[in-house]
Symmetry: C2
Subunit: 346 residues, 2 copies
């Protein structure tokens, strides 16, 4: 199984460097919270669920060598949590995972040594649960399809973006296992090309038929009747079903709506942020303009030209046909359907 | 004034090599129809009006050294016309210009030497008229705006795509001359980056404020209220107002429609193809997949991954707020408004 990282018995987090795919499979070893924070910020590891897991492991790495009293331990925990939570602002899984880790520490009236052990176990549990959630998302998402189909996906919501298996690509994997994938249209996903670099790489590994397109071609192929469904992941979902995801997702949803093509979002419940009433409240990360103006070391525009680089956009819930989670499918009206899913016994 | 080419007294067509912009200003000299055909095919020169003018000059170059009888001359003319007309299929200006040249030759009961002279004059007239048309389009288009605005444009419909001045960028130039351009949002326009390479270069030359975005960001900025109008060029316009233009144009029109943002197409009447009842009849060029899978000599995806590469898409007339031509503005219903424009005395 493809995974974005491994975690060794000697407490080293080995990250597959996703900036270098598909050209080379290089690994970055992290032994500290600082190392993990840097890797998240620089997108060695990316994808909402994956950065949640990496941050949880990073938080453990940040406190595991502490030897003093309880008070100092919690100060350190708070400090490392803050460090890790300021790496990227949009994906809520990061904060969700760090809060879950913190809660475990606070809920344990135990010696520091035992708390550290519990944090290690919890981080690995977050990872394990994510893989399990993805597999359920895959099965549930696949059951929405009744025949072989051509699906379009954006960015990478695959094994590399999660603990393994993937959300949107998890559904595609499950469909492929049933022989129901006719073709995956892969948006290249400018500026960082997670589609052409990562999604295409995963699909090659699995032998799933796919074809690469530039982001601006999606509408053309929808108009030509060549897309049966769009399926994407999510970085944060507000209580009304508004979805923050990689820049370009919103345009796809508008185009799918015009062509009456189902638009599915696949995400674990850790991506939900029911504290937010709408997507307007989701902070959108602005990244360095060099990502737009430069590619493979080559400047693409005149040196005087500046660029915008919002990394995400918000798709209104009204354009989302269904949100597929590990506890089932939510549909409009989302304020109730999402709440019900969260409260449902698994 | 920026122009995509010069034509010397010694009958050499000097083309600014648009593949190398903005990195270097290199020129390609063409002295034969074959050379011009290659330059059009390889996109040394591109843009619907510009390739029409280049083809007209290329046709003259293809026959200018002929010394025999009239019958052989017309055979040669036909042969060179065929060569030039098979370079690119979508932009109708190419066929329009070649047909106009042929008509001039056929309508002249003159010695071959005189016909050749008339062809030279006609090709230069096509060029001159195009620049004149662009300036009128600029003025007419600018008059549609009542206050300073932020406009979004796609690909390059500028001086480089025409005889000079530009269609969509002609309108933006005219607006800028009136101090009415707050900001131009420039779609980078994958795969060949005519936006980041050519449009940004032209806007830099003129000192027009602009900002580069990836194609998939346009919807996000529309949703944020940062786009007052979209203005693009065209490669072919059917009688019902359907517009073939650079891939990605259709998506912009759908997004503009959702956000009630005016979507303007600026094009000379030579871009109209009233023989076609709808855009479905417009042939869409499929270009080499390398343009999508490779950039600046670097492969962007796994070597097994294949790509689609349609160079154009079709925007239905219903999504076009107005078509701005040198004879005025056409609006829905296009079948009558476009016909009226063509028949109008200039």
């Amino acid at each position: 199984m493809i995974t974005p990282f491994e975690f060794n018995n000697d407490d080293t987090l080995i990250l597959l460097d996703q900036r270098r795919l598909p050209w080379e499979e290089k690994y970055v070893a992290c032994r500290t919270a600082e190392g993990v924070a840097r890797a998240i910020r620089e997108m060695v590891v990316r994808g909402a669920p994956a950065i949640g897991i990496a941050a949880a492991l990073g938080l453990y790495l940040g406190v595991k060598d502490y030897q003093g009293e309880e008070e100092g331990f919690f100060r350190l925990l708070e400090e490392k949590k803050k460090l890790l939570s300021t790496t990227r602002p949009t994906a809520v899984n990061l904060f969700w995972a760090l809060n879950r880790m913190e809660r475990v520490a606070l809920d344990s009236p135990l010696p520091v040594k035992k708390i550290k052990e519990r944090l290690r176990v919890e981080a690995l549990k977050i990872w394990e649960e994510d893989v399990e959630a993805n597999k359920r998302i895959g099965l549930t998402g696949a059951s929405l399809f009744s025949r072989a189909c051509r699906v379009l996906t954006h960015c990478n919501a695959g094994a590399l973006a999660t603990g393994g298996y993937g959300t949107a690509l998890g559904v595609i994997r499950a469909l492929h296992e049933r022989g129901m994938v006719e073709m995956v249209l892969v948006d290249e996903t400018r500026p960082l090309l997670q589609g052409s670099r990562l999604t295409a790489w995963e699909l090659c590994q699995e032998g799933i038929p796919h074809i690469l397109i530039t982001d601006n071609m999606a509408g053309h192929f929808m108009a030509r009747g060549m897309v049966d469904a769009v399926i994407v992941g999510a970085d944060r979902i507000a209580s009304n079903g508004d979805v923050a995801n990689k820049i370009g997702t919103f345009s796809l949803a508008v185009l799918a709506h015009r062509h009456r093509i189902p638009f599915y979002v696949a995400a674990p419940l850790s991506t939900l942020d029911l504290d937010l009433s709408s997507g307007e409240e989701i902070p959108i990360e602005e990244r360095c303009e060099d990502e737009v103006t430069t590619l493979a070391g080559k400047r693409l525009c005149p040196k005087e030209t500046q660029a915008f680089n919002p990394a995400f956009d918000v798709t209104p819930g009204e354009l989302v046909t269904a949100i597929v989670t590990e506890k089932g499918v939510a549909q409009s009206p989302y304020p109730t359907s999402l709440k019900n899913l969260v409260e449902k016994r698994s």
